[in-house]
């Protein structure tokens, strides 16, 4: 669908030189892992999986809600797809699709009930739902393997190629991650994307101009949770092992921190957040006890001095301080 109607709006023009520079940096970050060592490749893959999950979270956040149960939907994608593959003998496409569908369905049911709640209540209920899911996975050991989890998950085989090495898996993960960023970028240039932004920025006004706040937030929630499930499907195949502890609230918190530090209002926020924060714990390996202190401090500083996240630095530089606040 042509978006020429938006030519009526002022373009957010970035200088061509800055765009080129950004493109080069991006390309370097994306290409480097193929030529790097095995450990960097591992981190790059985890970063890509995080980009996918955080992009889902960003979609929910753009509609004006914050989900604290994101890890539960990653778990659903992982468990449902792995179990479907193992017990029903389904192939990757079907089992993965089933995992994503299951998460979307649960998100639809849950969202249908709780999206009428605003602000802190929505956060609380999603938090409780996340814990509930983790406990259910622990308790239902006959199916899920309980605390032992599920081991020896076969790697992905696509079009006759088994993605059993890191460079091969990275190729798939980075392709999906970039595709999603571009898809989201396009979405927020379409009427539907503008409608989602409208709902977040002024729900009463959006509703009174004929946009259904409930329907749009439900749509964003379902799509965001489906993306979480997609990252779960991939993660299970890459690591080869899943357990309830791989999806605790700490994971959700980590994803939210990536989103906030990367930038909530930009489609590049999830990418920046994941690329910056995924390797970070590795630097603090010697200080496992204190790494969350650094996280907390970083979060407070960002919220105070850079509420738009790292992604907003870009606009701050290119706009030449136009957005300077009083």
């Amino acid at each position: 669908m042509s978006q020429s109607q938006l030519t009526a709006l002022p373009a957010v023009g970035l200088p061509v030189g800055m765009r080129a520079l950004g493109g080069v940096v991006l390309a370097a970050i994306v290409v480097a892992p193929w030529f790097a060592g095995s450990f960097v490749q591992h981190l790059a893959i985890l970063a890509c999986l995080n980009v996918i999950a955080v992009t889902g979270l960003a979609l929910i956040s753009r509609s004006g809600q914050l989900s604290f149960g994101h890890a539960a939907f990653i778990a659903m994608g992982a468990y449902v797809s792995v179990l479907a593959e193992r017990h029903l003998g389904l192939g990757l496409w079907l089992s993965g699709g089933l995992g994503i569908l299951a998460a979307a369905l649960v998100a639809g049911l849950l969202g249908g009930v709780i999206l009428r709640l605003r602000g802190v209540y929505f956060v609380l209920v999603t938090f409780a739902f996340g814990e509930l899911t983790r406990l259910a996975l622990l308790d239902w050991s006959g199916v899920t393997g309980g605390a032992n989890g599920i081991t020896r998950i076969a790697p992905i085989a696509l079009f006759g190629v088994t993605l059993d090495t890191r460079p091969k898996f990275y190729t798939l993960a980075v392709a999906i991650a970039l595709f999603l960023i571009v898809a989201l970028w396009r979405l927020f240039r379409k009427p539907l994307g503008h409608a989602i932004d409208s709902v977040a920025q002024n729900p009463a006004l959006a509703e009174s101009t004929g946009l259904s706040v409930f329907r749009l937030q439900l749509l964003a929630f379902v799509a965001g949770c489906a993306l979480a499930a997609l990252s779960g499907v991939l993660q299970a195949r890459y690591i080869g092992y899943i357990s309830p502890e791989s999806f605790n609230t700490g994971v959700t918190t980590g994803l939210i921190i990536m989103l906030v530090i990367g930038g909530r209002a930009s489609v590049w926020g999830p990418f920046i957040g994941a690329v910056v924060l995924t390797p970070l714990p590795e630097f603090f390996r010697g200080a496992v006890q204190t790494q969350y202190v650094f996280y907390g401090a970083a979060l407070i500083l960002i919220m105070r001095f850079l509420p738009g996240g790292l992604a907003s630095l870009w606009h701050r530089f290119t706009a030449g301080g136009k957005e300077k606040r009083a």
Partner: protein
């Protein structure tokens, strides 16, 4: 006699022990410009919220174009052609003026998931029509010069006008205005009066406004409904209302209100 577009029938609204509206009935004919007045706390805004679907009535019904719209949701009421503005300024402050109007148009752009999901009749609005529509609205509301300015950076009077522009973008048949003149200076107030009259005459819009600015209401409205303590105490032409002893007693007070 022209057709009644909006019919409020026996609407009562209670909030706990407080009865904000008691058995309110009135109607607005197609193309009419009607004022709803009354002292603070008379239930004017509650009446607005009930009509626009933000708040369901405790009893009674609201009919728009013969259809029951009591209880909303507001997005459905708007889809049927009844839009509202808010008492406080209501815009998307971070977006530009043009973007604000564009967002007001969104629900009419076909192909959007919103329309499909809600199973609403699709209004086909191709890109050039969107642009033409935005231009027409910016022209009508005289906001052209501020097209690319951020809504939040505009002066108060312009923000209020932008609020009207955003509601107009949904192309309603009827517009409810909640205290459009509040906080405006004399010149802005006159301009508002001219805008509302043009909307009625040139665009054939039906208007219902809640307003405290008596000079504006008296000069603009064809008919006035007076609410006191949630009840309608009078209804009629500005002349009739002005001379109604009950209205003078309860609300207008001194007879030189018109110079306020």
């Amino acid at each position: 006699m022209s057709k009644q577009l909006l019919e409020v029938r026996g609407v009562t609204r209670r909030f706990g022990g407080l009865t904000a509206l008691r058995d309110l009935s009135f109607s607005v004919a197609e193309g009419e410009l009607v004022g709803l007045i009354g002292p603070n706390g008379a239930g004017k805004t509650t009446a607005f919220n009930v009509i626009s679907g933000t708040v369901p009535p405790s009893s009674g019904t609201v009919l728009f174009d013969g259809r029951n719209i009591s209880g909303g949701p507001p997005s459905r009421v708007v889809a049927l052609g009844l839009a509202r503005t808010f008492q406080s300024t209501s815009t998307y402050p971070a977006a530009t003026v043009a973007e604000n109007v564009y967002r007001g148009l969104l629900s009419r752009i076909s192909g959007s998931m919103v329309n499909r999901l809600s199973g609403r009749r699709e209004w086909r609005l191709p890109p050039d029509a969107v642009r033409a529509e935005m231009d027409a609205i910016l022209q009508m509301t005289d906001l052209h010069a501020w097209r690319d300015a951020t809504a939040g950076s505009l002066a108060y009077g312009l923000q209020k006008k932008l609020g009207i522009a955003v509601s107009l973008a949904a192309r309603p048949r009827m517009l409810l205005l909640d205290e459009p003149a509040a906080g405006l200076n004399h010149e802005e107030c006159n301009e508002l009066g001219r805008l509302l009259r043009r909307l009625q005459q040139e665009w054939g819009l039906t208007l219902l406004l809640v307003e405290h600015h008596m000079a504006l209401v008296m000069s603009l409205c064809q008919r006035i409904v007076v609410l006191v303590h949630g009840e309608k105490i009078a209804e009629g032409s500005p002349q009739q209302v002005r001379e109604n002893p009950a209205v003078v007693e309860a609300y207008l007070g001194a007879p030189d209100y018109a110079h306020a």
